[in-house]
């Protein structure tokens, strides 16, 4: 079949909860539509965490929003490919169907814990809302379940805090509420778009630990978007690196960190200061090209030390060495 299923590495053949196949997402600038995400494919199985990493603006959030069907109307559109969530083809579905999927079988956590909760509605109700919507629960029953969910994400004194408002919560707590909210209807797929970027490290650790815990317990397929490779190393099973709308490398976490193969992945790792280890910093020269000025071939070519003529053509994703699960998109790093 497609690339999506080839990078399968988990032995027990549970079918993936989320399959993205050759997804292309376009953004309108002026009157022209540009490819902001260019034919990316991946699959996430239950209990599995796939980390999507990359520099700001490389299309991570657009991928997530495409999956959710929440691209800004008139500005963004899915122009090709297929998205299958828990067996339902989201790209082919109509808006009511997608509405019924969202919050029910697929949930999402956003980056900004401070602004992603509605400031004028009580926490309890915000968590309960999707239960009322999708499960037809009464408000009372839904609130009861909301309390359980808040307990699950370890909000202290959950019962008495159902009536509290977001501003009464700290950033970390709000992010935990967001998790509870996304989990309300026991979704199969959870997308977390930079869930901890805005948080302190100690709180980040708290939230990540919680997510991992819940994920394993509920058997969720987790798509974790981040640009922090430390986080990836700590919580992900597999990693996918994006650059300029392309997947440039993907593979199991250990393999990736052991042998980062795309020049961009390498550069990323080298640019990260570490607490221990005194490796000198290696900044990546230049910038991500803007959407309107993307090179046609390899999009990293403009900043790449290994650049050569062939880079004017987009390289295919090919296995690194003999590991069929570790793929890289680079002419220079292709196995001969």
């Amino acid at each position: 079949m497609t690339a999506a299923l080839r990078d399968d590495f988990i032995p027990d053949a549970e079918p993936p909860a989320l399959v993205v196949d050759e997804l292309t997402t376009q953004i309108r600038v002026g009157r022209t539509w540009y490819d902001a995400v260019r034919g990316i494919s991946f699959a996430v199985r239950p209990r599995e965490t796939l980390a999507l990493v990359g520099e700001s603006g490389c299309g991570k959030s657009l991928t997530a929003l495409s999956v959710m069907g929440l691209l800004p109307a008139g500005v963004g559109r899915v122009s090709g490919g297929r998205i299958v969530v828990d067996g339902v083809d989201m790209t082919a579905a109509d808006e009511p169907t997608r509405e019924s999927m969202r919050g029910d079988r697929i949930g999402m956590i956003f980056q900004e814990p401070m602004t992603s909760l509605n400031p004028v509605l009580p926490i309890g109700f915000q968590v309960a809302e999707s239960l009322i919507q999708h499960r037809g629960l009464s408000k009372k029953a839904a609130l009861n379940r909301a309390r359980e969910l808040l307990e699950l994400v370890r909000v202290p004194a959950a019962a008495s805090r159902l009536d509290a408002y977001p501003h009464q919560f700290s950033g970390g707590m709000r992010q935990r509420v967001m998790i509870a909210l996304a989990l309300a209807c026991d979704p199969k797929v959870l997308i977390a778009d930079e869930p901890t970027t805005a948080l302190d490290v100690t709180i980040q650790a708290q939230v990540l630990a919680l997510m991992a815990d819940v994920q394993k317990r509920e058997g969720l397929a987790l798509l974790l978007i981040t640009h922090n490779l430390g986080v990836v190393a700590s919580v992900a099973d597999r990693v996918m690196v994006m650059y300029g709308g392309d997947v440039v490398e993907s593979g199991p976490v250990r393999a990736f960190f052991a042998r980062p193969s795309h020049p961009y992945s390498e550069a990323l790792l080298a640019a990260m200061p570490r607490i221990d280890g005194d490796t000198p910093l290696q900044p990546i020269a230049g910038q991500v090209p803007t959407l309107t000025q993307m090179p046609t071939g390899c999009r990293f070519a403009t900043r790449c030390a290994l650049r050569h003529d062939r880079c004017a053509e987009l390289p295919p994703l090919t296995p690194v060495g003999d590991d069929p699960n570790h793929l890289v998109r680079c002419w220079a790093r292709m196995s001969p």
């Binding site: 100690t202 430390g230 990836v232 919580v235 960190f257 570490r274 990546i284």
Partner: protein, 323 residues
């Protein structure tokens, strides 16, 4: 550490009054700084780390007199900053500068770069008329921006470039000390590395001292020679890099280290769920502020605030139990 520090902050206190509540607002006191002391030597980069809201920015703002202190002393190269009059302050400001966290909001969006960088030169009489432009171009060059940047507006630059402009502006007056308030936390990893390298070069070439505020231990470890760890308005540990991270003395420093993920699955931090919320500065816990989250807290911690003690040479910690 030099014998006469460039900057000497002693027992600095700052209390914010906030009025909140409905319908009758009540005044709450936020003890943003509760007796903070540290020194910075010439050409030294001192890291200040700590949780959001612990008072890191306030230190900088008070030391620069952007806000008035409620107690304590700030000596800059022998001058009492807090007592300085208008003219003294002007001279002081030429020597102490600040780089802000958010490069977008720290630049006036309606000023071209030539004006943003030329204005301080003109105001302080460093350059005027035709001399301004070459001076600006020199500054830009120093931070690695081309001369063509002078006629652009801030929004026409990327985040990293904007931060370079912010740095250039801080450099314009030729300071001896720069407070860098989370200068890279809004930036991407790759850009962050560029800026760090730039700052590092400047520090060495100009013998600039830095108070480098951050919450990213990796960054601090890379850039700084010494570190001050703050928790809720107090200094809980100080010490030189890398010892302080290799062998943290205070439990909070330890927690910080534990929570900082390393890009290496082999040494993946145990993302164990830490109970406890960062406490509110309006109503800080009694005794050691950290005790509600401290795994080793004893009764004494709840009642008695620990003093900062020198435990090893050059290393201080405020913990009853640290040895």
């Amino acid at each position: 550490m030099t014998a006469t520090p460039l900057l000497d902050i002693r027992d600095l206190r700052k209390i914010y009054k906030t009025r909140r509540g409905w319908p009758i607002p009540k005044t709450a006191l936020v003890r943003a700084l509760d007796g903070v002391s540290f020194t910075v030597g010439r050409g030294e980069a001192l890291g200040v780390v700590g949780e959001s809201g612990c008072g890191k920015s306030t230190v900088a703002r008070v030391a620069l007199r952007l806000q008035e202190a409620d107690g304590g002393a700030v000596q800059f190269d022998g001058t009492d900053v807090l007592a300085a009059g208008k003219t003294d302050l002007r001279t002081l400001r030429r020597r102490m500068q600040m780089v802000f966290q958010d490069p977008a909001s720290s630049l006036d969006g309606r000023q071209r770069i030539i004006d943003a960088l030329g204005e301080p030169l003109r105001v302080h009489g460093i350059a005027s008329g035709a001399a301004v432009k070459p001076a600006v171009v020199r500054l830009l060059d120093e931070v690695g921006l081309p001369p063509s940047a002078v006629d652009r507006y801030p929004h026409e630059f990327s985040g990293g470039q904007r931060q370079r402009i912010g740095i250039a502006r801080a450099l314009a007056l030729g300071p001896d000390l720069i407070f860098a308030d989370e200068p890279v936390s809004a930036l991407d990893v790759s850009v962050q590395a560029q800026i760090l390298k730039l700052l590092e070069t400047l520090r060495r070439e100009r013998n600039l001292a830095f108070v480098f505020i951050s919450h990213d231990l990796g960054v601090v470890r890379y850039f700084c020679q010494r570190v001050v760890v703050m928790y809720l308005g107090r200094v809980v540990e100080t010490g030189p890099v890398p010892e302080i991270f290799v062998d943290p003395l205070h439990p909070y420093t330890r927690l910080l280290k534990l929570s900082s993920p390393e890009p290496d699955p082999a040494r993946a931090v145990a993302m164990a769920f830490q109970e406890g919320e960062p406490p509110s500065p309006v109503d800080p816990p009694s005794g050691c502020h950290f005790h509600p989250r401290c795994p080793i807290a004893v009764d004494r911690c709840r009642t008695e605030a620990p003093a900062l003690r020198e435990l090893r040479t050059g290393r201080h910690a405020a913990c009853h139990l640290a040895t």
